[in-house]
Point group: C2
Chain length 246, copies 2
Amino acid sequence: MPVKVFGSPASAEVARVLTCLFEKDVEFQLIRVDSFRGPKRLPQYLKLQPHGEAITFEDGNVTLVESRKILRHIADKYKQQGYKDLFGPGALERASIEQWLQTEAHSFDIPSADMVYSLAYLPPDMPLDGRGAGGGLLPAAGMHPSHRQKMEEMLQLFEKSRKDLGKLLDIYDQRLGEEEYLAGSKFTLADLSHLPNADSLAADPRSARLIESRKNVSRWWYTISSHDSWKRVKELQRPPSAEAPF
Amino acid sequence: MPVKVFGSPASAEVARVLTCLFEKDVEFQLIRVDSFRGPKRLPQYLKLQPHGEAITFEDGNVTLVESRKILRHIADKYKQQGYKDLFGPGALERASIEQWLQTEAHSFDIPSADMVYSLAYLPPDMPLDGRGAGGGLLPAAGMHPSHRQKMEEMLQLFEKSRKDLGKLLDIYDQRLGEEEYLAGSKFTLADLSHLPNADSLAADPRSARLIESRKNVSRWWYTISSHDSWKRVKELQRPPSAEAPF
């Protein structure tokens, strides 16, 4: 019985797991539920879900719902197939992979998702020059108070996530100056786990600078995002009706 | 609880039902199962299934598996919403719609699916000039016997379906010279039911002539295929990985 993944590839949680399944050459079924009403509405999954929609993963008797646990399960159970270094050849490498997996989960995931979320609310042409939230950036008049309040919140969220991510990525840049990948000389789960959110950052010029301005992070991002497994997931994320001709 | 459709939009059976749900502005969930293995394989639903993959339709306690029965169910149950003339305003219209629905199911469906199926096997540049199957069309040498046999079969299937469809579409052309749509002056289930297979015919220049060479059929096809509901289904049919960049 093949592995089953229930969820939308637009979810970061699901995208992480699909990338891993492609890397490990594991046969699987993707079960998607899309909701529609009438010819004018768009499917609910049209927008990427930066904070991660639910995933359910079934492999025989095992059922898991957290993407990084699922990554570990796949890399362990299918260690003999596909790309073999995903979870390291030995205990030493695994400790380093585990450390960076946890850094991703605890320090990278939330600020990167917050930044993508806040940018979805902020007008693309608003100058985000680091002067702090609301520092004269919002027009003085002509904005509904509740709208203004939401925008202020989003500006604050953007500033906070930019600061947190900037500090974190400085550490990444240093690390990636010493090693080609986060956990050493090989592409591993540690790198893979960053793909969905890093891709969202890279997709918007306002957040892409965080990556592009750091030489080693930028080189690393270019390499890991060129994997066929990730390109394949990106194709699956393409909403079927986004380019509908009406 | 919303209506549930289990199946791939690439199936003619499913496409027929989705078009009807869009026309009737019915809220529904589409549950798709796609199978994958490794970055190099394509999903199984990449090719349209001219003979119709399975569909399962659930609406409360009602479960149905035949697309035309499902069309009747939707048009009846949701008669007060969306496009209201799909199953006619009264019994007289309904008799005519029913007659053409049955013509589609019993006389149009199989030869049109057969033609699409046979064309998938025949080289695009093979001259199909109506001289009959195997009439000197296959090269004399350089073809494996089992391949030759399959090609002969496909040529015969193509010729038979072309003959059957030609006769049928002559009747359609006459009817559509008297009325704008098959069952009268309104677009109904009778027309809608033809969309998936007629679209497959129209997509290949070798079969499109059947439509294009008949003035009234051609005008009718242009009109019905321009419905937003159908364009929406076509977008859903687009396989997510067909244009993968690797």
